[in-house]
Symmetry: C2
Subunit: 351 residues, 2 copies
DNA sequence: GCCCCGCATGTTTACGTAAACATGTGCTGT
DNA sequence: ACAGCACATGTTTACGTAAACATGCGGGGC
């Protein structure tokens, strides 16, 4: 008989992972008793328990979660499908999801999608299907999924962030419209005749809703609606928009659809010699940590990403526990306007 | 006999997930044949294969990864333990890890640690041990682990980012020292007599190494070494440091240990009427996307987070495939200096 | 024409765990 | 003192998959 446990490689161990049977043998008990100790069940006498615990320590026993999952039919894992972690919002949402899930004893499995083509998304869902996942949280413009093509594996519970798919899925989202409303109203209240707007990409529902709300507020107030400038969330696109806006003599207030584009605006205005907020006011959206340290500190709409993440997990767990008992619908997380120093009344000549 | 498949809950299905046996029954074959088809093995005649595929589709069969993992003894999953996703660097590293891992057919499981106490870290490792994970990537100051207390579960392969634990673990990291050297040298080359410095937190090895390199360059050039100012990576701490530095009449150049603190510096200097770079030069570290749109655009050290993530996964996979065959050691990813507009020669009076 | 071999498919088994059921010991109550 | 029961512990089984081994059929070589 060859001793297969020994190997010449330092630290190179066969995958002879320690199982309950091994512990049981060493402790001189049955594997069921080991199981009971491992799971903290009562009905094991002190001395036996000690023996088992000692054996576990000596052998470095760790339960095999695959076997557990197989036994229980669930994995204590939530999958997160997302397009990108680069945006502050996404990474903070994911962090909140992970933290909350950990507190509930769930792990998070990340499935990133490089390029959001139908194929890739479909692939991600397929992989999720094969994956050990009890529920899936999708952080992505859901219309990319085109429900006709992409079939969510049945029996997998889904929560969607940042989408209008509330009729089909459980949706958690920031109240984009209300946030935008607050931003635009704030500028109008300061006395600006109207508010210009730098949008997010057209593929973004969050961006679309902010833009809709911006338009709505202006229309309701009977103000002219300037043509929106199209951005892509990046500071660079904000900078480009800022150069264009600086050439508009009647532009005294801008609502940017996120803080990074607002940063680009600030730089463009600074370059063109426009003082913020004396000559022109800027409001952003997101309230990223850096926003308070822009020059000048940015007035912006605060999004509670942590709360979004928390509710996602709550909803996912609820679906898991009730076997999909919850109805589709949209859960809106409120926003708040954080007023800093990038907004003020318009210059006198524009009054 | 009660039919347990039916339930009154809309969409609420028992966990009667479709198994190979179900497919086999419908297709009129044995489950082994289904297995063969599922895994694309040869030795199944066309007609039979078609029958099985049809049955799979009809029932919506998806393989159970827990059973697979149990059978094979591995999970095709890499765990990532991290302190925070909030920092740009971490989230981009994680994104790169996830992307690369996905390309290799591995999933990523995230374990966040709220507060990096020994207990929490230990808990995370324990959970990882129980988790279905073939390797672990730790993004964290490793000295928090204090190897005496925290025991990595044996048989789990580990890669560490941002640490000096190269003697015990496989470490992948940005070449912090070289990056800092480039930053400080750049400023000296411009004619500054010396360079002030805002550090990262003392608990950060990355920060420590940047600070060491800063000091070393000054000493080697025979320049005075001003007392470093202590930051915590946040723009706010950079702002505070900036206010202090603005009061130093002989300070003409500052190296901030990351871009966010540099942002804080820029704002403080702007508030104090110091022009950057005419009166004072600033260099950051990281090259976050926004840095190009600071006022003025920031000269900074570019870190290739994506490459770090990629190498982490490569190393982890290598360990998995060779059963831990790789030796501990440090794999350094090079940096580059990106010169923008926040640096210039010192004002004449300081020449 | 018969034997043997190859190939398609079926059967058995093990992976590690834990519920369900089975056993056996000692103590309690009358 | 003995029935009966509570409690500690052991045994069996199922979870879904796939390797290893077994079966059975048809066709080619002699």
């Amino acid at each position: 008989m060859v001793e297969r446990g020994s190997t010449g490689v330092p630290g190179g161990r066969r995958k002879q992972r320690v199982s309950m049977a091994d512990v049981a043998k060493l402790a001189g008990v049955s594997s069921q008793t080991v199981s009971r100790v491992s799971n903290g069940y009562p009905g094991v006498i002190g001395a036996t328990r000690e023996q088992v615990l000692t054996a576990m320590r000596d052998l470095g026993y760790r339960p095999n979660s695959a076997a557990r999952a197989l036994r229980y039919g669930q994995f204590n894992t939530i999958g997160v499908i997302l397009f990108s972690l680069s945006s502050t919002g996404n990474s903070r949402t994911v962090e909140a999801i992970a933290t909350r899930a950990a507190a509930e004893g769930y792990a998070i499995t990340l499935i990133p999608i490089d390029v959001p083509t139908q194929d890739n998304v479909l692939g991600a869902f397929t992989r999720m299907g094969e994956l050990a996942v009890d529920a899936v949280i999708v952080i992505m413009e859901i219309h990319l999924l085109d429900t006709g093509t992409v079939q969510l594996p049945p029996g997998v519970h889904v929560v969607v962030v940042d989408s209008d798919a509330g009729d089909r899925y459980s949706v958690v989202d920031t109240d984009q419209a209300d946030g935008a409303r607050k931003a635009v109203s704030h500028l109008l209240d300061l006395g600006h005749r109207t508010v210009w707007h730098v949008t997010g990409p057209e593929t973004s529902f969050a961006g679309q809703r902010r833009t809709q709300a911006w338009r709505r507020v202006l229309e309701e107030a009977g103000r002219p609606v300037p043509p929106p400038l199209h951005g892509d969330w990046s500071a660079e696109s904000g900078y480009a928009a800022g150069l264009a806006l600086a050439a508009q003599p009647d532009c005294t207030a801008v609502f940017a659809s996120n803080d990074q584009m607002a940063l680009g605006l600030l730089r463009a205005f600074h370059e063109r010699g426009l003082r913020v907020p004396a000559d022109i006011s800027v409001v952003g959206f997101d309230d990223i940590p850096d926003a308070a340290f822009f020059v000048p500190p940015l007035t912006t709409v605060h999004q509670d990403f942590a709360e979004v993440g928390r509710r996602c997990v709550q909803d996912a767990l609820h679906q898991i526990r009730t076997h999909g008992g919850s109805q589709p619908g949209t859960d809106l997380v409120p926003t708040s306007l954080v007023v800093r120093h990038s907004t003020a009344a318009p210059p006198d000549r524009h009054r």
